[in-house]
């Protein structure tokens, strides 16, 4: 058993729901106990969809367990077909139904419904949401596109030069972080390159669209967590190459344009010459100078975490001090990325472990998920959201892609906004005793909320400094005047200063930290 306060991903059948809900003409019959319909409100409330997800739940109860739950499933599948008349059906089990072993796939087959039925085997006690989405998408693609596959070993016929090259966009789902606007942004970018989009899937696709995936010249994998498996199968089956670069950030978008140009046989120069992201100028303008070396901790799904790290390091001039992901399937890629920044990768789905790491590293900015918001709020560190899981505020009404050149504009604003603005940061450093603008107050451009008062039951939430900064060594004490001096260091770097000073003292076997020690450590470590 794993003690879980927050979970980064839902169970795998929620991933399957994200595929079914993203598509048109698909229905998902899910063998599940009463109550599992809570998942509907992820789509109707968080994503604000105006239709019920195309999911029929059997919602069996305890009294049904003695009877025939298999019969309940068959009735639900039959009635769902008759009522909704889908073009394809997914059938599967939730975690509880997995335990009672009714075999939805076999039962649905016995019904002999006149449409493609794709059975899903999603092991709930081993795997999670993104894997469930990936697996579901792969099985859907395989079931629907297989009949159109050329004989094995045959070459792709050359593209008719009379038509523009075309690709599929793979990976966007329901409940995906900014998927809606990423698709719009990338579609526009491809159009400027002279590349058409044949099928976008699963988002907005019908089963018939999946059947013609093989007709495109190549595939664009927007979200590897969802579509890498399906893209690999398409490559084997239809000889379609797939893009490797995810176009999040200016540099990554330029790489992506070059990669697509290569695959499509088009000239990227006009698009790149007209590349109009404002991020490069905003980041070079002098008001961004104070961002240099800001220590940032990054956590999320692997795709967004790695993209954010590149932007933070190469495009904003931050210093990446921590990089991690909950996407175990992409641990290797993320480890390689982390090495490039000289940090150790954190591969975990344990929220408590992430929290401990943030407390230890004392970053000045956290880029993460909804969960890192909880952590950052508790430790009073500025935070921006870069990845699912996210809440309703991250399904905004306005156009807010992460991808492409406009995505980079959105990201610049997002990654800078939570930080204290430059002038305020200077003044806080110079004048400590201001009754209004003191360093425990949040940045004044975020309004004047007083620091949240800790509740007595939140033992760990008491005075954040004390909560997170247990002494490195019990042997070391702070002299009173050194403690006073430490308080004169601005709040957002104070934690780091405290840790460095204690480490410095420990390494030298000092038992008391004086003002001298504090400044010796500062000289030793730099900022």
């Amino acid at each position: 058993m794993q003690l879980t306060v927050w979970t980064y991903e839902g169970p795998p059948h929620v991933g399957a729901m994200r595929i079914a809900t993203a598509m048109e003409g698909v229905h998902y019959v899910l063998h599940a106990p009463q109550g599992d319909t809570y998942a509907d409100l992820l789509f109707t409330m968080i994503e604000r969809r105006d239709k019920r997800p195309p999911v029929t739940y059997t919602t069996f109860e305890a009294r049904d367990l003695g009877a025939d739950t298999a019969e309940i499933f068959k009735t639900a599948a039959r009635e769902a077909y008759e009522r909704f008349k889908p073009e394809a059906m997914l059938v599967g089990a939730s975690c509880t139904a997995e335990l009672i072993q009714d075999d939805p796939g076999g039962l649905a087959k016995a019904l002999d419904l006149p449409l493609p039925v794709v059975p899903l085997e999603l092991p709930s006690y081993q795997r999670k949401e993104n894997w469930g989405a990936s697996e579901t998408f792969y099985h859907m693609v395989r079931a629907l596109a297989s009949p159109h596959a050329p004989p094995p070993g045959s070459e792709r016929p050359a593209r008719d030069p009379a038509r523009r090259p075309r690709c599929n966009l793979l990976g966007p789902t329901a409940l995906g972080f900014r998927h809606r606007d990423d698709v719009a942004e990338v579609t526009r970018l491809l159009d400027r390159l002279g590349v058409d989009v044949a099928v976008t899937a699963p988002l907005g696709a019908r089963p018939a669209d999946l059947a013609r995936l093989g007709e495109a010249d190549f595939n664009v994998v927007l979200y590897p967590e969802i579509a890498a498996t399906a893209a690999r199968w398409l490559e084997r089956t239809f000889r379609q190459k797939a893009t490797k670069t995810v176009p999040i950030g200016v540099g990554a978008t330029i790489d992506f344009v070059n990669e697509v140009a290569e695959l499509a046989g088009v000239d990227p120069t006009p698009v790149l010459a007209g590349a109009h992201s404002r991020l490069p100028w905003y980041s070079r303008s002098v008001d961004s100078t104070y961002l240099t070396g800001k220590r940032v901790f990054i956590f999320g799904d692997a795709t967004h975490a790695m993209a954010a790290a590149r932007i933070a390091d190469k495009e904003l001039g931050y210093k990446v001090v921590g990089l991690g992901t909950y996407s175990r399937e992409f641990a290797r890629e993320l480890r390689t990325a982390a090495e490039a920044y000289g940090v150790e990768a954190l591969i975990t789905d344990d929220y408590l472990e992430v929290e401990a790491k943030v407390a230890e590293l004392q970053p000045e900015l956290v880029l993460g998920t909804q969960m890192e918001r909880h952590i950052a709020k508790r430790l009073r560190i500025p935070c921006a959201v870069i990845s699912a899981p996210v809440h309703v505020q991250d399904f905004p009404a306005r156009y807010s892609p992460q991808m492409g050149f406009e995505g980079a504009n959105v990201i610049f604003d997002t990654f800078v906004h939570p930080l204290m603005m430059g002038l305020e940061e200077h003044l806080i450093g110079m004048f400590r005793g201001d009754f209004e603008f003191h360093d425990e107050a949040q940045p004044s451009h975020l309004g004047h909320g007083a620091a949240p008062s800790p509740s007595p039951t939140q033992i760990k939430d008491a005075e954040p400094e004390k909560a997170q900064l247990a002494l490195v060594s019990k042997e070391i004490a702070w002299a009173a005047e050194a403690e006073q001096e430490l308080k004169k260091i601005p709040f957002f770097v104070r934690g780091k200063a405290r840790r460095n000073t204690e480490r410095f003292a420990e390494e030298r076997g000092l038992s008391t930290i004086t003002v001298e020690t504090l400044y010796d450590a500062k000289a030793h470590f730099g900022r």
Partner: protein, 428 residues
């Protein structure tokens, strides 16, 4: 209309004998785990550890995540594949997780092990686990267990199961104790305080279950009279009666009338002088009526349809029809406790369509056919129905908002009025 038209019994008022449409099929409801979302705030030194799957953890954070940024007083021990291999192993794992949790949160005085669908299907005996853990952790931390699983409980029944598990923990009141009143059901703190003042003015000694701290559990015995503040507490009632407590029958304290009759039931049981009762309740009743008058015009004559959710549907339908003149099209409830709702059913207008349970697609067909002015439903249905042009009131809010008692009568009406006013106000 009455199914018993040719029976020998005298005709009963309202809907006492009304037929009930019983449906089986897909149910669009929460499981009992969701009760934790308000219970963990009510009982401040309690912690709720769900023993379940990732789905359970996901449900809790989806339902509560938007509200809770601090570390909440609930968590999930997620069953993994290796736990499914052998029972002894799962128990050791549970002990390890509980130890880890109590080390992390030494302030916890009461720990609930909450059963879920997966833990029940694999027959993990949490009641025995609780007994075993008590030998290690009591008296510092008391460990109890109940089931919040979807296969056993619907939404608010989670509170019922939780409180029923607490009842055996209550001290035994001596047989010669003076009669006292117990108000049962988690109420908003402000509502609890208002009721305390009213009972004090009536001269009735009162306790509340659940209390705000596990260290303040009331005593119970044969001289305890109890009033349900919530309609979904069937198992808790039975548990209290086993301890000798006696139930007072009353409608639920919604609106001016409901609150008055609820208080009257207590006043009569404690032989409070009629004059005194009138004096004590007059002000609140007057204020409630004045507050309700503001919403009369907007709500009178409007039709309302209830999808099943919390078992609050029947009392709320009674309040909306009798005090605000709304027309009831269908009143759906997950369970219809005839005994708990006896006083309510008698007050419902005759001919009201009652339904118990759900086949959600068929019920949606009925709602679409009826085109009610307002539909009370869960969050999985609300936006889709809005998109179809039906105005909705999402039901869960009725559990998360102070709605009981005189001072909240206007707020309760306003909750139903707001979607209608909003629809009138929006021009785009």
């Amino acid at each position: 209309m009455s199914a018993l038209a040719n029976s020998a019994a005298p005709p009963q008022p309202g809907c006492t004998d009304a037929p009930v449409l019983r449906e089986r099929g897909q149910r669009e409801v929460f499981c009992g785990l969701t009760g934790i979302i308000w219970l963990h705030r009510k009982i401040q030194d309690a912690f709720f550890l769900i023993v379940g799957s990732r789905t359970c953890a996901h449900l809790m954070q989806s339902a509560a995540g938007v509200m809770i940024f601090a570390e909440p007083r609930f968590a999930t021990a997620i069953i993994e594949e290796r736990d499914l291999a052998g029972m002894a192993d799962a128990n050791e794992e549970l002990d390890r997780v509980v130890t880890q949790l109590l080390e992390r949160r030494p302030d916890i005085r009461l720990l609930f092990l909450v059963g879920s669908c997966p833990s029940e299907v694999i027959k993990l005996d949490l009641s025995r686990a609780a007994q075993r853990l008590n030998t290690s952790f009591a008296p510092r931390t008391r460990i109890l267990n109940y089931s919040g699983s979807g296969i056993e409980t619907t939404f608010t029944q989670g509170e019922d199961a939780c409180l029923a598990a607490v009842v055996p923990e209550l001290a035994q009141a001596p047989t010669d104790a003076a009669p006292s009143l117990l108000v049962v059901g988690a109420l908003a703190d402000i509502v609890e305080d208002q009721f305390r003042r009213l009972f004090a003015d009536l001269g009735i000694p009162v306790d509340f279950l659940p209390p705000r701290s596990s260290q303040e559990l009331p005593a119970v015995g044969p001289n305890t009279r109890y009033l349900l503040a919530q309609p979904f507490l069937g198992d808790t009632s039975k548990a209290l009666e086993r301890r000798g407590a006696e139930r007072l029958t009353a409608p639920f304290p919604f609106g001016a009338e409901g609150t008055t009759e609820w208080l009257r039931a207590a006043a009569e049981a404690f032989s409070v002088d009629t004059q005194r009762f009138e004096t004590v309740t007059a002000m609140g009743r007057e204020r409630a009526k004045r507050a309700l008058a503001r919403y009369q015009e907007e709500l009178a004559g409007k039709s309302i349809f209830f999808f099943p959710d919390s078992q609050l549907e029947v009392p709320l339908a009674r309040f909306l029809s009798r005090e605000l003149s709304m027309k009831l099209t269908e009143v759906g409830t997950p369970y219809l406790h005839r005994q708990n709702l006896a006083a309510e059913l008698a007050l419902l207008p005759e001919g009201t369509t009652l339904s118990e349970g759900q086949d959600v697609d068929k019920q949606l067909d009925r709602a679409r056919a009826a085109r009610p002015d307002l539909t009370v439903c869960g969050l999985g249905l609300a936006n889709p129905l809005e998109a179809e042009g039906l105005r909705t009131k999402w039901a869960i809010e009725l559990v998360f908002t102070p709605i009981h008692g005189y001072e909240q009568a206007g707020d309760l009406a306003e909750l139903f009025c707001r979607p209608l006013m909003r629809a009138e106000r929006l021009e785009v």
